[in-house]
């Protein structure tokens, strides 16, 4: 007889896990949720999206204040109390994770703490020895930062979790990896006064992103950062008393640099292979990824998998949607994960966001598309924010005139991209978007402008008529 019995066990209490557990409980299932850490919320709430956004907000306040110096309001150099800032960030996190505990309680979701591993296709065992018998299971065990192999053990070499601790603020920092996570943390540290260098193995930052999106971003960050080294390889790290000595190989890079702190942000790895899933008969790839069907079922029909450890981007908003599908299917509903697009956002300054088809993909796939791009210099709101470097870009299907994809660079791009996501899901065309009255003066008008530009009805810019 197992120590715990449940109709549904959810492994992991991140955004995917808790969403799945709560949805299933709301559908009448008897749910146990297992979490390896003390607090609920997973990477996103504890050491990911939420704390990083708190710090990014702080960074933005610093930058915005500094930017106003040119326009007649000078605050002087900010005095930064890293400890207080950290406390505030932790407070934000604990408010959210505490809220989750409360939500679990209200729904009578039983939360167990420990590392769960499969014993069979209907039994789990925790590292404290307790066993859980289940009828159905949702695997939502997430992902972990990858550490480069062969790095020396040194507290000054950190991952994104360590970077959120701001302990202490370094004078000079190297960010290894020019992806979204690395660039967000670069943004925070730079605003807080650290000299930041970024090194990326590939030839551009945020690999895979349309190149034009990076231009406004680089225009802002290049003067701020000490160095941005693309096509550059880190060949070694050696801890010394003054700092971590890093050697590089690449045409834009020095041979050697010494940094107080090195943030390794080279990607994340799925945790699918840490659960003994094979004992339940669940197939896991060599990279820890578990394949699922459109109902989030693994190859074992009563075991589901969602979030970072299934194929697709490792994003909380993808996990939560998959979670609802898995919970609903587990409860007997006929749900499917049917999203046509999942938006991506880099919460850097400026923000970069895209959804649907990218131009890079369109070219690869040979899609016959049209593009309209509205520079934010045409937006009164952008100018009054002092941020005219951004733009809004939409891609159109030439035949149906429906929007295929969109990208936005500039402050609040992450919020603005949601409208384009809705347009894609609804199959909206240029007329639908252009005829929707957007409030003035807002940055959202630039989306409508891009539609009007495609229709040839835009008056806020002079553009040659399309048709």
């Amino acid at each position: 007889m197992a120590d715990h019995q449940a109709q549904l066990v959810v492994i992991g209490a991140g955004p995917g896990g808790y969403t799945a557990a709560f949805r299933a409980a709301d559908l009448g299932m008897d749910v146990v949720m297992v979490e390896r850490w003390d607090t609920l919320g997973g990477v996103c709430l504890n050491v990911g999206c939420i704390p990083s956004k708190a710090l990014l907000h702080a960074a933005k306040v610093v930058d915005d204040a500094a930017a106003m110096a040119d326009h007649g309001i000078a605050f002087g150099k900010p005095r930064i109390d890293a400890r207080k800032l950290r406390d505030w960030k932790n407070e934000v996190v604990s408010k959210l994770t505490g809220g989750l505990t409360q939500l679990a309680k209200q729904r009578k979701v039983r939360v167990l703490h420990g590392i769960a591993k499969f014993v069979s296709a209907d039994n789990l065992q925790l590292d404290n020895g307790e066993t859980i018998a289940f009828e159905k299971c949702i695997i939502a065990a997430g992902s972990e930062s990858i550490m480069l192999p062969g790095l020396p053990e040194d507290p000054r070499i950190i991952d994104s979790t360590g970077a959120l601790e701001l302990d202490p603020l370094p004078k000079r920092m190297l960010v290894v990896g020019g992806g979204i996570i690395g660039l967000e943390m670069a943004c925070v540290y730079s605003a807080l006064g650290t000299d930041v260098s970024v090194v990326e193995l590939l030839d551009s930052l945020m690999p895979g992103t349309d190149k034009d999106l990076l231009r406004p971003f680089l225009k802002i960050v290049k003067p701020r950062y000490e160095a941005i080294m693309t096509s550059t390889k880190v060949t070694g790290m050696r801890p010394t008393v003054p700092g971590i000595e890093v050697t590089f190989e690449g045409k834009n890079a020095p041979e050697i640099g010494v940094y107080d702190r090195v943030l390794v942000a080279v990607g994340r790895r799925a945790n699918g292979d840490q659960l003994d899933a094979d004992k339940a008969g669940v197939e896991v790839s060599d990279s820890g990824v578990i394949s699922v069907d459109k109902q989030m079922r693994t190859n074992v029909p009563h075991i589901f998998a969602i979030g970072d450890l299934v194929p697709g981007p490792m994003l909380a908003h993808k996990a939560t949607h998959e979670a609802k599908v898995a919970a609903e299917v587990a409860a007997g509903e006929k749900s499917h994960f049917d999203a046509r697009t999942i938006p991506s956002v880099a919460y850097t300054d400026p923000e970069i966001a895209w959804v649907g088809l990218t131009e890079t993909e369109a070219k690869e796939q040979g899609v016959d598309y049209d593009r309209t791009r509205i520079p934010w210099a045409a937006s009164g709101r952008a100018l009054s924010l002092g941020r005219a470097e951004g733009f809004t870009k939409l891609l159109w299907d030439k035949k149906t005139e429906r929007v295929l994809g969109g990208a936005i660079v500039g402050p609040n791009a992450g919020d603005l991209i949601a409208e384009i996501g809705l347009a894609i899901e609804m199959g909206a065309d240029a007329t639908d978007i252009g005829q929707t009255v957007h409030p003035h003066p807002t940055l959202s008008e630039t989306v409508a402008f891009a539609a009007e530009a495609y229709e040839g009805t835009l008056t806020d810019l002079y553009m040659p008529k399309k048709r």
Binding site: Q7, M29, K334, S335, E425, G427, D429
Partner: protein, 555 residues
């Protein structure tokens, strides 16, 4: 019997010293179960404390501004025992002797602590069911019962279930009778429970307060007891749907002009949106389009899976009525059965009956039969009928056709291959005479005989069973006056032939004896209309009456 119970603040979760912001009733008021008595406010929310019972407020001590906690007694309620629907707050309340002991709140697993004292046995969580009828009361006042003994039997429209006791003891009073409607938390009986010695006394830490009534001590509420009773709705929720997903063209589905809500509906119904044409603006697929598509499939107007929604014939245990023997269907029956059923369900069948005058034909056949037999040819009437049918199919090409898969066009066949139903030991088989229009009566007769023999011997090869464009089912050798054959779909018609008989036929001046052959043409009404069908049988009748024409060699 009237009695008095305490009004208790229910479990307030993590909140303590919660302020009373409003008092909604006063002493003497009559209240119904769940009526609000007082309103509390935490820094998160305001909430009403409901009345635990129907009754009259005897005392209400709470006043605005008071701070209260879980378990506080704020008044007394006079209730009629028997009029008993009790909602259980999450507090255990156990009177023993002259004092009332407030137990610690519910234990972690939700089971009531197994201690002694007077307790109320209540209905456990019934899932989604409310107002469930008591169909049997299994206890009486004074009964000694054990833990797990059934108290009452409840019946929902789904199932009957027993409610077992969670404690052993002596029934003080039964609070329900047959026919009562109960819900989760309704009181069933009051029991003087026997304490289980091995369990620690959970009440030791509890506050001791004055008993409200020393003579009749009621323990009105025990929350969500009987953890072992199944909760029907939950069990239902856990039942797996079939893991097989309907076949959907995912690439096409992902391009369909349909909003997320329409896609959700399509997924639920297993509709492949790639197969739909939208009726909305700019060909957008709407909810109604999805529903219309499903409806069309169910009514056979569009291609799609069939039969899933059909009611089943009743399943009966025949051995109850006498001796039976089970005989497996033959291989051929197993194959032909579903095909016949598919045709019957999918095709709107109509059967046209007619009579053909074969007096001359039969006379001539009798003359020719002997010489033919010498050449080894059994010159049967069927050979002449095939010949006549060939002529009719030439005249009415739509009868020699099939409907396209999407139901949008006719496939007219330039060949005439005639299938004929042959009765064999193994079941019904339909061998095919290829290019029947290129054969004369003797060739047809020869081939009919050869194929029939092969069918009886089970020696037919697959190609000899394929490609028919029209089928004849002749039962004339056995009997009958008419029948309604089932079209061998995707063919669109089948000719049934019954036994010919001598009948008086009015020839204009008198009744003459004529040999009449009953013809029954069943046809797919989507393709062949009634007028065409009767023209077909009339034409065939004329052909069969002109024997010399039939005997003319094939072109």
């Amino acid at each position: 019997m009237a009695t008095t119970i305490d009004i208790i603040i229910p479990d307030l979760g993590d909140f303590e010293d919660v302020e009373v912001i409003e008092v909604l009733v006063k002493a003497g008021d009559t209240v119904a179960r769940e009526d609000g008595l007082i309103t509390l406010e935490t820094d998160k929310a305001a909430m009403d404390v409901p009345s635990p019972e129907n009754g009259a407020i005897e005392v209400l001590t709470a006043t605005v501004g008071d701070k209260v906690n879980s378990g506080d007694i704020i008044g007394k309620l006079t209730i009629e025992v028997g009029d008993t629907v009790v909602i259980a707050p999450a507090i255990q309340y156990e009177p023993t002797g002259d004092t009332t002991v407030l137990a610690t709140p519910a234990t972690a697993d939700g089971k009531a602590p197994k201690t002694g004292g007077v307790q109320t046995l209540v209905v456990p969580d019934l899932g989604d069911f409310d107002d469930v009828e008591v169909i049997e009361v299994l206890i009486a006042n004074g009964d000694e019962i054990s833990e797990e003994d059934p108290l009452v039997t409840l019946e929902t429209d789904k199932a009957a279930m027993d409610v077992p006791a969670i404690v052993a003891g002596r029934i003080e009073s039964v609070l329900v009778k047959v026919g009562d409607k109960v819900s989760k938390g309704s009181s069933l009986a009051i029991i003087e429970a026997v304490a289980r010695a091995e369990l620690p006394d959970v009440a030791t830490d509890a506050t001791i307060i004055q008993a409200p009534d020393a003579t009749v001590v009621l323990a009105p509420m025990i929350p969500e007891v009987v953890a072992d009773t199944p909760a029907p709705a939950k069990r239902q929720a856990s039942q797996s749907p079939s893991p097989e997903l309907p076949p959907i063209n995912e690439a096409g589905f992902s391009r369909a002009h349909a909003s997320p809500s329409v896609r959700k509906l399509a997924r639920e119904l297993g509709v492949d949106l790639a197969q739909l044409n939208g009726s909305g603006a700019k060909d957008r697929i709407l909810h109604d389009d999805v529903k219309a598509f499903v409806k069309a499939i169910l009514t056979g107007q569009a291609a799609g899976p069939v039969g899933g929604g059909l009611p089943k014939t009743p399943s009966i245990d025949y051995s109850k009525f006498g001796e039976i023997e089970s005989q497996p269907l033959t291989h051929i029956q197993k194959i032909s059965g579903p095909r016949l059923q598919a045709s019957w369900i999918n095709l709107p069948h109509v059967t046209q009956h007619d009579l053909a005058d074969i007096t001359d034909l039969e006379a001539r056949r009798q003359e020719l039969k002997g010489p033919a037999k010498k050449r080894g040819i059994p010159l049967t009437p069927l050979a002449f009928i095939v010949k006549g049918v060939v002529a009719a199919l030439r005249e009415f090409p739509q009868v020699n056709s099939s409907l396209s898969d999407d139901g949008g066009s006719l496939v007219l066949k330039k060949y005439i291959h005639i299938g004929f139903a042959a009765d064999t030991d193994q079941g019904l088989m339909v061998p095919v005479i290829r290019d029947a229009d290129q054969k004369d009566v003797y060739e047809l007769a020869t081939e009919l005989a050869e194929l029939s023999a092969a069918a009886r011997e089970g020696k037919l090869k697959t190609p000899q069973l394929q490609g028919a464009s029209f089928t004849i089912s002749s039962l004339g050798g056995i009997g009958g006056t008419a029948f309604t054959p089932i079209v061998n779909a995707p063919e669109v018609a089948i000719l049934g032939v019954s036994r010919s008989s001598m009948q008086p036929v009015w020839n204009g001046s008198e009744f003459a004896p004529r040999l009449m052959l009953p013809l029954s043409l069943s046809y797919d009404h989507r393709v062949v209309d009634g007028a065409a069908a009767v023209r077909f049988t009339t034409f065939l009748g004329q052909k069969l009456s002109d024997v010399e024409d039939l005997l003319r060699a094939a072109p």
